[in-house]
Assembly symmetry: C2
Homo-oligomer: 445 residues x 2
Amino acid sequence: MPSKSPLTTDLYELNMVQAYLDRGENKTAVFEFFVRRLPERRGFLLAAGLEDALGFLETMRYADADIAWLRGTGRFGDNLLDYLASFRFTGDVHAIPEGSVCFPNEPLIRITAPLPQAQLVESRLINILHFQTMIASKAARMVLAAPGKILSDFGLRTAHGAEAGLYSARASYIAGFGGAANVLAGQRYGIPIVGTMAHSFIQVHDDEATAFENYARSRPDGVILLIDTYDTEAGARKVVELAPRLKADGIAIRGVRIDSGDLIASARKVRRIFDDGGLNDVIILVSGGINEDTLQTMVAARAPIDGFGIGVNLDASIDAPSLDCAYKLQEYAGTPKRKLSEGKITWPGRKQVWRTYDTDGRIAGDVLSLESDSHPGETLIAPVMRGGERIAPPPSLQQIRDRAARDLARLPEPLRQLVPGTAYSVTVADTLQALAAEMSPAKGR
Amino acid sequence: MPSKSPLTTDLYELNMVQAYLDRGENKTAVFEFFVRRLPERRGFLLAAGLEDALGFLETMRYADADIAWLRGTGRFGDNLLDYLASFRFTGDVHAIPEGSVCFPNEPLIRITAPLPQAQLVESRLINILHFQTMIASKAARMVLAAPGKILSDFGLRTAHGAEAGLYSARASYIAGFGGAANVLAGQRYGIPIVGTMAHSFIQVHDDEATAFENYARSRPDGVILLIDTYDTEAGARKVVELAPRLKADGIAIRGVRIDSGDLIASARKVRRIFDDGGLNDVIILVSGGINEDTLQTMVAARAPIDGFGIGVNLDASIDAPSLDCAYKLQEYAGTPKRKLSEGKITWPGRKQVWRTYDTDGRIAGDVLSLESDSHPGETLIAPVMRGGERIAPPPSLQQIRDRAARDLARLPEPLRQLVPGTAYSVTVADTLQALAAEMSPAKGR
């Protein structure tokens, strides 16, 4: 299960809240979380993590043991400890819905709450939204590179901890993956779980054919056999020999997996062996070092591969294992705020995003404006929580996934490429530019 | 808290165990976990994660709800569900101690257990050991690049989930970091927690000087002020003005943090302002995009920086966010095993590592041998668990950290460089080579 500990936070959040409580500084603060810029070779983001973020806000509680431990550090006053002991998030939340295509500087979430609350939730909110959005954005590239193929998240083992494995399964499923190997993703989120067998299974048997048969007889639903332990073509021929005997007992071999060697060449040889042997329906899955580029290569080569198990390239987003992002104060006690540190300037105020579409339904451009502005197009940011409670029941994972499929289909063709042929237009509205200019460094204190 | 769910596993583990139970295939299996090769620019690994891995083995249990959920999938037989319901790990474990410098192909852990047990623990064991070893190895580079500097893990927010943030704090502390911002790392592991303040704290106040003073008065122990929100030098001058007033009330400013701009130039200006203002004892910390290369640059420039807050470059090991690693069957029912898939050949059998030292105490070379061999030098792999129980009480985190410091000090000079000047010698013993040759592809089935 995802971490429930409210101590999954940076110490400075507690330090600051201590100071706020000491001075009664608890007016309404507005923070927005956004990505500052896209990683190289990326053309868009796919928003993910919102439902887990809202779940965190709804359930964030300090247990007695947490309070006792904090007290024991000697760092905090009774006023802070009492505040934490009865902590409930009571703020408002606005957000871009999960599964939406979005872009840098567009707020994924806005928190409007008494200052200590809005500050206390920072670290974990970023932790959830950054990771899931990063993975969904990576997974979307794979989905676009391999239309119609079965993609599965096999990355738990080299994901960065258990939660990364779980969240990867969720974020990639939103982006269009078919399922994940991680069993917890099935229990926790209802994601289809998938699994084959390991080389060790073959090795503990005296011969490969026996291993295949034993596995198949224990797993009569959707048997996938791993055929590359010793010699992939020989393995495929054993499958051809075995299939009729199993079929007589009502067991169908659904597919095979190849995990090593030249995957395109092996898949072609295996496909021929299967087709010649009457196993036209047996699918071929491959795994091992798959990323969006190898997917594109294999698809372009028309390799007879039906599905891909994708590991660390997905779960650790190997080419871009972080997004440059920020959770920034935009307004306090009704006054817009803007950070002016060198090289890190941000847009002030509560914002909205307006999206317009081409006549063919593709997204054409966004306007980043103040919330109070009005612009043509569809608004992306909507209220999702009021006074700490959800405004509507959470969407199902399927609904989120449907939104992602719809938004990915609406991407302009150049943005669907692995190397985007164009940058999407996000215009900053005049009123927002004017507000930012008003708060220029010359006016800094 | 780290995930306790035994469903943090790949479905294929359950599929295979189902097949093993169906056939009574439960003889003793030996698996070893090792890293196949070093990432680019890396010269060594620092072993980490063992104590969490052993904790996982000791406490792995299936709750009634887990069994009920698994049953509900319709995928598993009663024999498997009953087996899981009463699951206890009863195997033996050998390992290289945490905090040891080690190299590719050297087994970090060996599991000797009835086959279904040894298989069931695979995914999570890799998940823990891979990540913590990767982070400790990354952190060690930073420690070597900045001798005598205070290094702190600030990376929770963009770590890959909560557990990655927690394990990063632990692994970097083992490698020699001074502490972490993650409060849970303090509660869970006793790691020193550190924290400053955010730009938002400055922004909610009408002026920066008031913000500094309010913060200092609420945090009289070790105040660290963030001085770059508007203008770093102006911020530093406000600290000089404020310090005597606070001192009169018994409050000492310990340091300042700079998070943007040219950190070297800013630190020099701030140091001069402080020294001229009589604040010789106030330390300067910097953060923002720090990695081992920027550390080396700042140290070489003799920048007057006392400490570094390091974020995503540590927690996501940005330049190498995964290690190529494997958990491989080495022996089953007394017979050595070896996987022969193309490009993924591994060394068979139960292994030992023998390490020799130069006359000056630096490590000189390792021999990878069969466990039954005898070679000169110190053995690295030792028993840590027998029959599912620890052989000795776990070492303290401090003891693990001391071992790391000792081993890092014993690295030959070329391996201490960020671009290693030489590859460390790991020789494969003749007996192991002979066994591997005996099990050559020609003998594959």
